[in-house]
């Protein structure tokens, strides 16, 4: 009957500690080590499994289950713990009520809108009244980089002038997406210095994005909120190709091309 061994940590406390350990373990792993905030819903799901598992392990044998329930029973039944019991009986309903209240209050946070930043390009698109095939489209000026460096330099400079006159207000002097009007836009302008932007793309993709602008995006990229103008209304084809040269030259990046892959 009285086989329950004395333990340094009571079994109930042990269980609570294991569950708390798992909880903070998740937070440590995701939020701190991986630097990715763990979504609340995911954490809740994980914790349901953890709690179920831990309770199962702790109540696997009958003695284990009794030992676990012991302190709780004692709290209710042992007259010498009347004081603690009264305190617990006040706190638990209050906590339950508070949790219910806060979870029922409506939230007024803005809805989250997910959009694809680099949507899959179409094979063909229309601009300047004609059709372009994105799989074969190339920057007609790229070849001068090797063939005629002096000419190439002049073309880059012309592209820079186009950029400063037209693009820097949003994409910035430093091409970092932080131009003077960037903070007033949502989504914010693309940062071309970032390795995840133009360095991952082909020049034909840039041409498509510039020529057809925000309204030319597919639905998954939320064309209705993009502030990118439809540049075929403002710039010539040549100017777009030159500005593309400038973007790569200034950031020191290279466009991707079929031949290297």
């Amino acid at each position: 009957m009285n086989a329950t061994p004395k333990r340094a940590i009571p079994r109930l406390l042990q269980m609570v500690l294991v569950i708390l350990g798992a909880y903070f373990g998740f937070i440590l792993l995701f939020d701190v080590l991986l630097g990715q905030l763990i979504p609340k819903s995911l954490l809740t799901m994980y914790m349901v499994f953890v709690v179920a598992g831990v309770v199962m392990v702790f109540t696997f044998t009958e003695e284990g289950a009794q030992e676990l329930a012991g302190p709780i029973k004692a709290l209710v039944e042992d007259p010498s713990r009347k004081m603690i019991r009264n305190v617990v009986f006040v706190i638990v309903p209050l906590l339950a009520g508070y949790y219910t209240y806060t979870s029922m209050l409506p939230s007024f946070e803005a809805p989250v809108e997910l959009r694809t930043i680099h949507p899959a390009p179409p094979n063909k698109f229309k601009a300047y009244g004609k059709s372009y095939n994105l799989t074969t489209l190339e920057n007609p000026y790229r070849k001068f980089e090797k063939e005629d460096p002096a000419k190439f330099k002049a073309l880059v400079k012309e592209g820079g002038d186009v950029y400063i006159k037209n693009c820097q207000y949003c994409h910035g002097d430093k091409l970092d997406g932080k131009g003077p009007y960037a903070s007033g836009l949502n989504p914010t302008p693309l940062n071309f210095q970032d390795v995840g932007t133009i360095a991952q793309l082909q020049e034909s993709f840039l041409f498509w994005r510039i020529a057809t602008g925000g309204p030319g995006l597919p639905a998954e990229a939320a064309p209705w909120i993009s502030s990118m103008p439809v540049w075929q209304d403002f710039l010539t084809e040549d100017e777009i190709w030159k500005v593309i040269l400038f973007l790569y030259n200034y950031t020191g990046r290279q466009p991707r091309s079929w031949s290297h892959e």
Partner: protein
């Protein structure tokens, strides 16, 4: 105290003479030129004359280094030569409210010192300035100092002449820059537009040196009728810094205009006391640079919006700073701005139908499949009162003008001390569900705003400032439900616990037996 300070300064100055600028590392102009030609020439021009490709599209225009005027400097008012450190700082940190970014993320410190050496050559600045701004002993900000500063700010129209009584730069005087261009006094209630930071020490320096190339004079100049002592300048600096604490700053997380439900009547005036308690949301405004004709030289950069609703209508209060009340045909307005003066204006844009999914109308006046409804208020001219117009559009070109009265839309405005407030009220529902948004509480409704300053480059039509889509939410009255449910849950818990304790009551007897008669415990087995 002041004497020892002067001594210290004297010692510092002589040290500067002996060793060059103490903090500055010597830069090499030739290396600076290489960097300049890659990074700076686009705006400031190959010759440093500010004639880069974008010069006509920037306000303020890019600095003309050949003029020798440096707006932000810490040298004495009589000596236009900037300290190397002044130029260094502007390159490193950039100038807020202009197109000049801070370069510290892509240029090394040495790169920047090289640039300093090169840039100075455009105005042939060779020697460091002979005298520095005398900062004396900084007087830290206090209610008393701010009060003194306010008095000095207003006394004899010292600062008020240009910056206005509330510091918003509400113009009573026409100003021009070094190239003859129209310039506007700083709106001191917008600290994020202070070119050389809103730190009192920087403000002190601007008051002391004046701002070269502008009409901002030096108040340290003993010949000036409006001159101020060092101590007085600290008070004014503290006052100006206090003006900057307006809470008008944009908070990037706050993208929802939350309308509270009110019992009874909605506010009928722009100065109704209830607006003070209503949550304000401030948005950045950017010039319209998406469609033809692209517009680049705005005067306004924010709009603050509040909203309320009752069971009949919704009221929105738009508030923004505008240095001028633009009244076409009015002579006093004509003195301040270049002709033609247009009306000031503001607009609210809503989708015709609240989107059920993510897709909204195109934010630039809607699209063919998703029309928008626009409420456009104009301030009126000398001979005509203010107006509220309504349009429905499917993009920039397909615009249908409608009668605002048919939807019950009204507007009322006030202009005080450099701030417009416009109150727009519309019934929650109208007779034309195919053309007007039918407001529903609890739903996130896309909303966008626009504004026109008719005294700034004759803003009109497509030349205006605007926001992208944000949200309007008619906050449902929470009611008693959460509280009642919470009480019920708490009561259930309490009841459950008490029942448990009660049913355990008999067992409690066993616990007492444990103490008194362990021998009889067996009767309690299974407890």
């Amino acid at each position: 105290m002041a004497y020892t300070n002067k001594l210290a300064l004297l010692a510092l100055c002589s040290a500067l003479f002996a060793a060059g600028p103490a903090m500055a590392k010597p830069g090499t102009a030739d290396k600076g030129k290489e960097i300049y030609d890659k990074r700076c020439t686009w705006c400031h021009g190959d010759e440093g004359d500010g004639k880069g490709a974008a010069k006509d599209h920037l306000n303020p225009p890019p600095r003309d280094f050949t003029s020798g005027n440096y707006k932000i400097r810490s040298s004495d008012f009589e000596d236009l030569t900037p300290n190397d450190d002044d130029i260094f700082r502007m390159i490193r940190d950039g100038m807020p409210g202009t197109a000049m970014p801070g370069w510290s993320d892509i240029l090394s410190e040495q790169d920047i010192w090289d640039l300093v050496a090169y840039v100075k050559k455009f105005a042939s600045y060779e020697k460091p300035p002979a005298k520095q701004v005398d900062f004396g002993t900084q007087i830290s900000s206090s209610a008393e100092s701010i009060e003194k500063g306010k008095k000095l700010f207003e006394e004899g129209d010292r600062c008020v002449e240009c910056h206005g009584k509330t510091g918003k730069g509400s113009a009573s005087k026409r100003l021009k820059g070094e190239a003859g261009e129209r310039t506007w006094p700083r709106n001191l209630t917008k600290p994020w537009t202070y070119r050389g930071s809103a730190d009192p020490k920087d403000i002190f320096a601007r008051i002391s040196t004046g701002i070269a190339g502008t009409e901002m004079p030096s108040f340290a100049d003993p010949k000036s009728k409006k001159k101020l002592s060092i101590e007085e300048r600290w008070h004014v600096a503290n006052y100006v810094a206090s003006l900057a604490q307006t809470g008008k700053k944009v908070s990037a997380d706050n993208t929802v205009v939350k309308a509270d439900k009110v019992e009874g009547e909605l506010p009928a005036a722009t100065d109704d006391a209830r607006w003070e308690k209503s949550a304000a949301t401030t948005f950045y405004m950017v010039p319209q640079i998406i469609g033809k004709e692209r517009y680049f030289l705005p005067s306004n950069d924010t709009m603050t919006v509040r909203a309320m609703y009752n069971d009949k209508a919704v009221a929105m209060l738009l508030e923004w700073d505008d240095r001028t009340r633009s009244t076409p045909g009015d002579d006093s307005a004509g003195k301040l701005a270049d002709a033609p003066i247009e009306e000031d204006g503001a607009a609210v844009q809503l989708p015709v139908v609240i989107p059920s999914e993510m897709q909204k109308p195109y934010f630039g006046m809607g699209d063919a499949a998703h029309p928008v409804n626009i409420w456009h208020w104009k301030s009126g001219s000398k001979d005509a009162p203010e107006t509220i117009n309504m349009l429905n559009s499917k993009g920039f070109k397909e615009i249908e003008k409608r009668d605002a009265a048919s939807a019950g839309l009204t507007a009322k405005s006030s202009y005080t001390d450099g701030t417009w407030r416009v109150l727009m009220v519309r019934p929650l529902t109208t007779g034309a569900a195919d053309k007007d948004m039918q407001f529903v509480e609890g739903k996130f409704i896309p909303v966008a705003f626009a504004a026109w300053d008719g005294s700034n480059n004759s803003e009109k039509g497509s030349r205006h400032t605007m926001t992208t889509w944000y949200w309007l939410l008619l906050k449902p009255a929470t009611g008693a439900r959460p509280l009642v449910t919470a009480l019920v849950v708490a009561a259930l818990f309490a009841g459950g616990l008490l029942w448990w304790a009660g049913s355990a009551g008999s067992k409690a007897a066993c616990w007492s037996l444990k103490e008194t008669a362990p021998a009889r415990r067996s009767t309690c087995a299974g407890a």
